[in-house]
Amino acid sequence: MSDLFQSLSPARLLPAGHYGVQGITGVTAQVVTNLAAATLVARKGKTAALIAAATASGLPLVDAPKASSGAGLEAVGTGPGKWQVFSEGSSGAALRRRLEELATDLGAVTDQSDANLVLDICGPKAREALVKGVAVDLDPRAFQPGDAATTPVSHVGVTFWQRDNAPSYRFAVGNTFAPAFLRWLAASAAEYGFALSGTDRG
């Protein structure tokens, strides 16, 4: 598939556009912007208390690889007592303050709003394309809306979770790995027709 990108720099995000088979779009990927993010890590022995506090504030945290949402926030479990929390439309600093208030001395908050490229991947062939790199069972019997995983995909570490049954998945990919991830995704989705948008944000 290298001919697909022969002329493009492997260090830049693929430009928005249609890749692969023309006339059909089996997979779409759309960059999500305007999203603040932070890691929330429970302090020693405080996981249960942190979950209780967050739940009381309207964000029902789950200590598992699950996505949960509430109070305008979405939390994704990335490890025991660890979450990546997202908030649409807020600034990194605002999200951090909110979480710090919520967590008080139960957890540590670190702004990650600039750490990841967040992508929504969906389409009728999304699963077929994703299994070419995701070694987590995506079959509806095993992975459903609300399920999340942190795992390497094509040598790139990602956290992703399923959002609905379209199916659509949201991927958080380390910024500097995002060009490589998109090259893999485009190569994998090309046979189904792949539409990419939102990468031309500069």
């Binding site: 260090a11 830049r12 600039d114 070694a135 500097t176 090309a190």
Partner: protein, 984 residues
């Protein structure tokens, strides 16, 4: 032409053209290259490995040892491709291999004439005289004669991909047993996968004339496939070979997505690697028809009886105008009779037994086939087969035939059961090895299990498919197994005809029965030694059809019996796998991710030259028109030292540490103290491995009482993070510290040089960055560029006044541009990692070439940093005698005695006049640079008792680059040794 007038699963309405050795032929969709060649009367298709003997097609499957061709040409040339597995496509191009000048006239077949010398192991006894001749004469000669096909001429133009599929039940093989297993598993609702290496599902049912549930086998296959296709939980995967059974229910498989096309469809891979993760598996891989070893058994035209039948029934091809059989079992007799019924002119079947099943005898009679019982084939003739000589109880008979179908019985295809160490078990009643200990979760059904009748295969498949589904948590749907009424095959174990003439065991590697005897004579009796001495079973077919006969012959010679003799080990892959598909997407620039820094695009605009540092791409230098790299670097260094320079240092690992015990943790991982560091301060730290060797270094700043940020070297970012997690989770779980990697979150840019404060002052939103407001090693949280959150650290790697400014990554590019604008009045100069290296070498700072995993803090002159007030990782082991040996090479600087000479990193130090020996080796140069400030080359290195020897002159020995110069030992601090500039 030997295409039969009717029948077969080929589409006679369409014609495909193809070429073999440049000659054009035609075939039909549904043909393999082998069936199409046979249909065109082509019997000679290859040459053997050692003697270059003529070779023909012997099987109809992937076990084929002989019919190897080069498929396609140029960059797509694929050597050693089995004609029996190539699905015919239009304009297919194939060429014979391992022959010169042509397949028909191969001069290397002269090897046969000297074959008396070339017995097994002959290499080991010869080619030793004279000694120097091996590499120059003998070996090149052997190499040219050996080998098979030729590699492609250029990079593979096709692409490959890898995918993972999870299932409850993986069924391998789609014959009677596999279909039945898939049906039983599929009906239960389990996620089932049915794979077959063949392009058509059905296994032997595609060529057997059997009845199942009162209907034809073909009808059974069609109905089964229709039902399976209708089940959403079942996935049918033809053209998919399971090649390996790995730990934990993981299977490797290759799907040939486009091999049946001239070139892959746009955006389709040529092949796809599947990793199946299966809760349970049912191996239904069938059995191989095994040969009988007899003189002349390698002549093109001699083939497997079942293959001969398959060509007739599935492909509508007679393997020759006239054919005969040579068997020891009823199954093969029946198959040969099927071939006769399909139109093959079968003259006779020689069978070693006294009698065949009465029904078969009657059928033979009806078909006009002579049954020669109690008979053996003792010779053959013709370049390609023209006649066979049969020794019958009534005397010797010669049959004029072009094809001979041979069967010595069935060898269950147990390969995949052995990949995890299982050893097959001998079953005397069927004279075959059957699976022994199985991989966890695997069951074996049908012929692969040694259940050789169709009835057993169907019953097995049904039962094991249901059981597998049940084990995976699905309630089986009760349904009776399909019924077939075939008889056992009455095999009489028979391996070898004792008669005169070369009789081949391994046809590809030219191993004869005589070679087995020689191995026996010379003591290579264990099967594994037999294999290695004779190369039996080491060819591209891995002896699938031949090994049994070879070891049976050895068993006969040792008198040990076959079970005691045992088989050689089966290893993955089941059939050879293209390297391209195992690599998938990861080749060329996609071999590993390319990580750009936040200012990559800006650097591109500046015309930077990039360099790979690990996965990162970093600017190496920024040449101006007409500059070579040295000129650019000299300019960058000077500008930085004289005014101000700027570099993106975002690649450093950055770790956020929060919690009341963060200081305590840092005290334990760094040799120096961090718990006492003031808030708003940064400190350089060195961390050791537990064995006392330096692991990493970097600066850590304290942002709040319970909040530090650590930087690590670019190379060690992941390793240090893992190390900290180890400390917190394993060593000291009582410590209350939360970690987060912030490498991606923050862009970090270093501004250095006397004017750097002026630049910074223009960027910060009013913060006091004066020498008092932000003193050396200060850390400031502020905003820049009108409200962008920033962390400013006053650090200096260059030795100049300097700052590192960190902003959230999205602002990295803007920050760089703002810095450039702010610095314009001072001629701010972007620099790359080359200049970074010069600056640090001029200052005598250690870096990757010194932190090479072999040096202690003391070696690097950093020993005094170690706190004596606390324990830290590596402290105890760093006290071992070798580490405190005063003779240990220690960090020091060097300059060339002749200042115009260039130092070279990697040169070793010798005392002047000392002989260049390992004993006299006193250390080596770790890093060098040309210092435009000093106007000469400078170096850092490790020298025995280095610091004591400042002023001494030594020899820097560098024969690999023809360099051998005198150097002067000096302080490693070349520029501003007192470190005043950074503090102003």
């Amino acid at each position: 032409m030997t295409r039969l007038s009717a029948g077969g699963l080929i589409d006679r309405s369409r014609t495909l053209s193809f070429s073999f050795d440049g000659k054009s032929y035609t075939g039909h969709p549904g043909d393999t290259l082998a069936s199409a060649l046979l249909a065109n009367g082509v019997r000679l298709v290859g040459r053997s490995f050692k003697y270059h003997r003529p070779r023909g097609i012997v099987t109809a499957g992937s076990e084929e040892p002989n019919a190897l061709v080069e498929l396609r040409s140029g960059a797509r040339r694929e050597p050693n491709t089995r004609a029996t597995t190539i699905e015919l496509f239009d304009a297919l191009e194939a060429t014979s291999q391992n022959r010169w000048p042509s397949l028909d006239v191969d001069l290397l077949s002269m090897n046969q004439l000297v074959s008396p010398f070339l017995g097994a192991g002959f290499y080991y006894k010869t080619f030793m005289w004279p000694a120097a001749f091996w590499e120059k004469v003998y070996e090149p000669m052997i190499r040219r004669a050996a080998g098979l096909g030729r590699a492609a001429e250029a990079a593979d133009p096709d692409h490959y991909e890898k995918a993972t599929h999870f299932c409850d039940v993986l069924v391998i093989g789609s014959g009677a047993a596999g279909l039945a297993a898939a049906l039983a598993a599929g009906r239960s609702g389990a996620r089932a996968v049915l794979t077959d290496e063949d392009f058509r599902l059905g296994g032997r049912l595609l060529s057997e004339q059997a009845e199942i549930d009162g209907r034809s086998a073909a009808d059974f296959v069609a109905r089964a496939l229709a039902e399976l296709s209708s089940l959403p939980n079942v996935r049918l995967m033809p053209r998919t070979t399971v090649f390996g059974a790995y730990d934990g229910g993981e299977f490797g498989a290759v799907e040939k997505v486009s091999d049946h096309l001239a070139v892959p469809a746009p955006f389709q891979p040529r092949q796809r690697l599947w990793r199946f993760i299966a809760k349970r598996s049912v191996l239904a891989a069938g059995a191989f028809d095994r040969p009988i070893v007899f003189p002349g058994n390698d002549r093109p035209g001699v083939m497997s009886a079942l293959a001969l039948a398959t060509y007739a029934t599935r492909f509508g091809v007679g393997a020759g105008p006239r054919a005969a059989g040579f068997t020891n079992n009823d199954h093969a007799v029946a198959a040969l009779l099927d071939a006769a019924a399909a139109g093959v002119k079968l003259e006779a079947i020689a069978d070693v037994r006294e009698a065949v099943a009465p029904a078969l005898a009657a059928r033979a009679k009806a078909l006009g086939v002579d049954l020669l019982t109690g008979s053996e084939v003792i010779a053959t003739s013709g370049k390609c087969l023209s006649s066979v000589t049969v020794r019958t109880p009534k005397g010797v008979r010669t049959l004029s035939v072009e094809a001979l179908g041979v069967s010595g019985g069935a060898t269950p295809n147990v390969n995949l059961t052995c990949h995890q160490g299982g050893r097959p078990i001998w079953r005397e009643d069927i004279a075959a090895f059957v699976p022994g200990a199985l991989p966890v979760g695997m069951a074996v059904a049908g012929a692969a299990a040694g259940h050789l009748t169709l009835a057993e295969s169907l019953a097995d498949g049904t039962a094991l498919g249901a059981a597998a589904a049940e084990d995976a948590g699905f309630a089986p749907v009760a349904a009776p197994a399909p019924v077939a009424g075939d008889a056992p095959n009455g095999l009489k174990a028979f391996w070898q005809v004792h008669a005169k003439g070369p009789a081949f065991v391994d046809q590809q590697n030219d191993v004869t029965a005589k070679d087995v005897a020689l191995a026996h004579r010379e003591g290579f009796r264990a099967v594994e030694l037999l294999k290695r001495y004779t190369t039996m079973g080491m060819a591209t077919d891995q002896g699938k059809t031949s090994n049994m006969a070879g070891l049976a012959i050895m068993a006969e010679l040792t008198g040990k019996g076959i079970p005691q003799t045992g088989t050689t080990v089966f290893r993955p892959p089941y059939t050879p796998v293209a390297l391209g598909v195992l690599a998938g997407h990861h080749r060329g620039v996609d071999f590993k991710p390319s990580r750009p820094t936040p200012t990559h695009q800006w650097a591109e605009e500046q015309g930077a030259v990039f360099v790979e540092t690990g996965q990162w791409l970093r600017a190496a230098w920024f040449p101006k028109a007409g500059e070579d790299w040295q000129a650019a670097v000299n300019r960058e260094v000077k500008a930085t030292r004289e005014s101000v320079g700027v570099i993106d240092v975002s690649t450093f690992g950055k770790i956020d540490l929060q919690g009341p015990d963060a200081g305590r943790l840092l005290d334990r991982v760094y040799i120096n103290m961090f718990s006492t560091l003031g808030v708003g301060k940064a400190r350089y730290g060195v961390m050791l491995r537990e064995d006392g060797i330096v692991m990493d270094d970097g600066t850590t700043a304290r942002l709040a009482d319970d909040h530090y940020v650590m930087t690590t070297t670019t190379a060690n970012a992941a390793k240090v993070f893992q190390h900290l997690e180890f400390c917190l989770q394993v060593l000291w779980p009582e410590l209350d510290v939360c970690l987060a990697s912030i490498t991606e979150q923050w862009a970090q840019i270093a501004v250095s040089g006397p004017r750097s404060r002026d630049v910074l002052a223009k960027l910060v939103d009013g913060a006091d960055v004066s020498n008092t407001g932000l003193p050396f090693m200060g850390a400031l949280q502020t905003t820049v560029m009108g409200g962008v959150e920033a962390r400013v650290f006053r650090l200096s790697f260059s030795g100049e006044l300097g700052y590192e400014i960190a902003v959230p990554a999205r602002h990295g590019d803007a920050l760089m541009r703002a810095i450039m604008a702010a610095g314009a009045p001072y001629g701010i100069t972007p620099y790359g990692v080359e200049t970074l290296a010069v600056l640090r070498i001029e200052k005598g700072h250690v870096s990757g070439s010194e932190l090479n995993g072999q040096t202690s803090a003391r070696d690097l002159g950093l020993g005094r940093m170690a706190s004596t007030k606390k324990d830290f990782i590596g402290r105890v082991m760093a006290g071992r005698p070798a580490f405190t040996d005063p003779d240990r090479p220690t960090f020091v600087g060097f300059r060339p005695v002749d200042r115009s000479a260039r130092l070279k990193a990697g040169a070793h130090f010798l005392a002047l006049g000392a002989a260049p020996t390992t004993e006299n080796d006193e250390g080596y140069m770790t890093s060098v640079a040309y210092s435009p400030i000093l106007g000469h080359s400078i170096g850092l290195g490790l020298l025995k008792r280095g610091p004591e020897r400042i002023g001494e002159t030594l020899r820097a020995y560098d024969p690999v680059r023809g360099g051998d110069i005198e150097v002067e030992v000096c302080s490693p601090h070349f520029v501003d040794p007192e470190g005043e500039k950074q503090r102003v």
